[in-house]
Structures are given as C-alpha cells and as structure tokens.
C-alpha cells in the first residue's frame, strides 16, 4: 500500500517532474520487496491519473442519466461539466509526465486511450444544442464503457488501483489493522 507515502515524496514528484525522479537514488537492495523511489513516485502519479479518469467516468455517466431524466436540459449549464473538463486537463497533464518502469509500460497507452474516450464525450456535450438525444447518450455511454474497460485492464489492488474505492470506507480502518470487514 502506498498510503504511507509522505507528502514530500508526492510533491517532489509533482513539482520536480522527471528531474525530480532522476535525483532519486535506488533504495538499498537489502529488501527486495521495498520498491525504489522511482517506482513509488510512478505509483503516485499513476493513481492520480487513474482516480481522476475513474471519477470522470462516474461523473459524466451520472450527468448523462440526469440529461435523460430531465429531458431537453442543456448540460453545459451544469457547473460540474466545467469541473469535469478541468479534471480531465489535470489528468492528461499528469499522464504526460508518467514515466513507467518497463513492467508497466502498457499503462500509459491505455490511460491515454481512456482519456481520449472521455474527451470525445466532453466534446460532444460541448457541441450539443438543446439537449442530447438518446443516440447521443448511447454513443457517449459506449465511449465511457471503453474507457472503463481500459482502466479495468490496469487495475492493481496491491497499489490501490481499483474501480470501487473502498480505501476509505469505514471497513478499511479495520482492514489497515489486519481485520476483516466491508462497507455497505
């Protein structure tokens, strides 16, 4: 789990970009199970992109349901669309800085594809006039499903990449201490 990462490491990664990474020396090899700083920094950024895109899929999906339920309303008026666009921009920016280790090389491409799918939906919402039609919504849903499947394909629960966020459910307090339990 990377829950124990210090803010310092995270900020160094975010502000320092690849330079920040280069400055970091590999950790002692005495403990092979402890990832080196570069791997840790990668995980932080990877999860940032992953969580951002994952939340966007849920957010935009919900907007589509509301668009359908409140037929004819212009989604562009909803403030959450602006937030979605901003979050997408942030995710793509972090994605551009991702520097995956060899064994995770596929992550970046999949995330890029997922971001493209979400972009297509946001662009469609931007373009629409007078509300989305059912075919518009179904097409948007297909893009979001494709994005969801791409994220699913890089899920790794050992580093917190999961489609359902259970890290902070009340259950997880117990889990951290090694107990069982599940949020309901």
């Amino acid at each position: 789990m990377d829950g124990g990462l210090t803010t310092v490491t995270r900020e160094r990664m975010l502000s320092g970009g690849s330079d920040g990474l280069r400055l970091q020396e590999p950790r002692s090899r005495l403990r092979a199970d402890v990832p080196d700083d570069r791997a840790i920094a990668y995980r932080v950024s990877l999860r940032e992109v992953f969580d951002g895109l994952r939340a966007l899929i849920g957010q935009v999906s919900g907007l589509l349901i509301l668009a359908q339920a409140r037929r004819g309303r212009d989604l562009r008026d909803m403030p959450t669309i602006a937030v979605a666009r901003e979050r997408w921009r942030e995710a793509v920016e972090t994605l551009g800085r991702l520097d995956p280790p060899a064994d995770r090389a596929a992550d970046r491409e999949r995330l890029r594809l997922a971001a493209d799918h979400i972009d297509a939906v946001l662009a469609r919402i931007d373009r629409m006039r007078g509300g989305l039609t059912d075919p518009d919504i179904m097409d948007a849903a297909r893009h979001l499903t494709a994005a969801y499947r791409l994220l699913q394909s890089i899920c790794d629960h050992s580093i917190g990449l999961a489609m359902v966020d259970l890290r902070d459910a009340c259950c997880c307090c117990g889990r951290t201490l090694g107990f069982e339990g599940a949020g309901t």
Binding site: A55, I65, M138, C155, A162, C171, R175, E180, A182
Partner: protein, 295 residues
C-alpha cells in the same frame, strides 16, 4: 387478503465486520457477521426486488480478498431457491447506489429500476470534488452509474424525485435525503392494500443495518431504546434518526416490521432456512394462498 410475499435472500456475507461500522459510536466493541442480502416482493402479478447486490465477475475477487466478503452467489443461484429466475423480476427499487446494492443491474434483463434522482445528482457532484474529499465516494463504482445510462436510454431507469405512492399497488417509496447516502430511500409494502394499512412492512435499505439502529434490542415490539444511527453516513445523524422515526411510525411502532437486511438475527424472528450453498433465506411474510418456501 395479504397481497405480497416477502423474502430476504442472502447472497454473500462478511464473517467479521467491526461493530462500530454498524452502530455509530460503538468503538472497541468487537465484530459481528454481516450478511449481504437483497429482498424479493412477490404478488399482485409482480416480482419486485429491493436492491440487486454486486457482480462478482468485475471486482468480486478484490472485494473478497480485500474486505473479507465470502460465499458470493449469483442472483440466478440465489433466486432459484424460491423458484424464480432473474428474468422474472419486473421491478427493482434501488435503496441507494453503493456497490453491494446497485452493483448488478445487468443480471436483471427485464426489470425497470427505481432510484432517487438525488442519489444520482449528488454522486455526480461528489465525483467532481477534489481527491482529498474522496471519503464521500467510498463504496461507489462508476461502472454502476455507467450501466445506469444504458438503462435510462432503454426507459428502464426511473429517477424518482422524493416520495412516490403505489409504484406497484400498495408499495410506496420514501425518500431519505442526506442520511446513509444523499438519496437513500426506504420501501413500504402496505400488504392489505389499504391506505391506512394495518399490515405494513418497511424495507430499510441501509438506513438501519441491525435491530439496535431501530432502538430494538431484540424484543421486536415498540422501540425500547434510543435509535442509534448506522456507522457509515455521508448525511447527518439527525437525518438518520428522523428517518428511523418515520419508518417506525409507518409500522405503528411495531419495530419487527422494519426489516434491516444486514441483520443476521432476522433468523430469530422469522422462519428461515440455510441453502446448500450456505446462504440464508428468510421468509418475512406470505401472500394469501402461498406455501412457505423455508418450512
């Protein structure tokens, strides 16, 4: 005559759930078994359900490994125990959008789903919050919301705005805003079909996990203790308690008629049996002329 039969069907369980998750403030009071269930309401020519559980194939292993959920079985297997198939279900009330309640819509190809519009709208808002506020997102799978889009386009998702009477004859939906979730709802079955019913059952969703939430230490009559909110909420304790008051009032203070589906001790109060898969079926009531499926 009694219109509907009601069964609570266990589809998985957690053997060791911390008690403070169930009862607000019950710190250091150990663990209990927490069944994961959905409810079938059958009668009047309908097969309805409250909630659909989650789908094991997408992330079941992660949930099992990470959270200790055990013995998951599909709706096809679980419903077969009461002689039903998922395609027989025509109406589904989603008490709230947590993965273990809303996580398996695709297994019910013919059903129309009812959910509070507020539940969707507020999750949309919550998903736009900064990452550091993600506490409020726990238990939500964006994929469930995404599957809701397809349902909506196929006119199989009804977004309800507040209370709604007689969604099916004698079945009412009651909104419980800003409680366990932003748009939770509870379901009342007026089983004699009368407006001033003497035979009401309330299906509480996660507005009550266990008897103690209802001020009921086990006797099942009038509440004999104070209401205790559930341990997990994005709304307020006050709203949870006010909702509990409404639910208990609806059943004329006879708290045994409010059904908390995460309550293992339903077996002490209603006829039940364990299937060969090790899951419990609890028979809350039977419609006129219907034979027991647990005897």
């Amino acid at each position: 005559m009694t219109q509907y039969s009601i069964w609570v069907l266990e589809y998985a369980y957690v053997t060791k759930f911390h008690r403070s998750g169930v009862l607000y403030g019950a710190h250091n009071q150990g663990y209990l078994k927490l069944p994961y269930c959905y409810t079938v309401i059958k009668g009047n020519g309908h097969v309805a359900m409250v909630d659909v559980g989650y789908n094991d194939k997408d992330y079941g292993k992660a949930i099992a490994d990470g959270l200790g959920v055990k013995n998951w079985h599909s709706p096809r297997t679980v419903l077969a125990e009461i002689g039903l198939r998922p395609e027989d279900v025509d109406t589904i009330f989603i008490s709230h959008a947590h993965f273990d309640h809303f996580g398996n819509v695709e297994d019910f190809p013919r059903a129309t789903f009812y959910i509070q519009e507020r539940e969707i709208a507020k999750w949309v808002w919550a998903m736009s919050l900064p990452e550091r506020m993600r506490f409020v997102l726990s238990g939500i799978d964006p994929g469930d919301i995404l599957r809701g889009v397809e349902l909506a386009c196929n006119r199989r998702l009804v977004c309800v705005d507040g209370d709604c009477e007689d969604v099916l004859p004698g079945i009412d939906l009651h909104a419980a805003p800003d409680t366990h979730t932003w748009g939770s709802m509870w379901i009342a079955v007026r089983n004699d079909g009368r407006r001033e019913s003497q035979d009401v059952w309330v299906l509480a969703g996660d507005l009550a996990y266990q008897f103690e939430n209802l001020g009921d230490s086990g006797a099942g009559g009038a509440p004999d203790g104070m209401f205790i909110p559930v341990g997990l909420a994005v709304g307020s304790q006050m709203n949870l308690i006010a909702t509990t008051e409404q639910m208990v009032k609806q059943v004329g203070n006879e708290t045994r008629r409010v059904i908390p589906i995460h309550e293992e001790r339903l077996r002490d109060r209603f006829p039940s049996r364990i299937t060969d898969k090790g899951l419990r079926i609890t028979e809350i009531c039977l419609a006129g002329g219907v034979r027991s499926l647990v005897a």
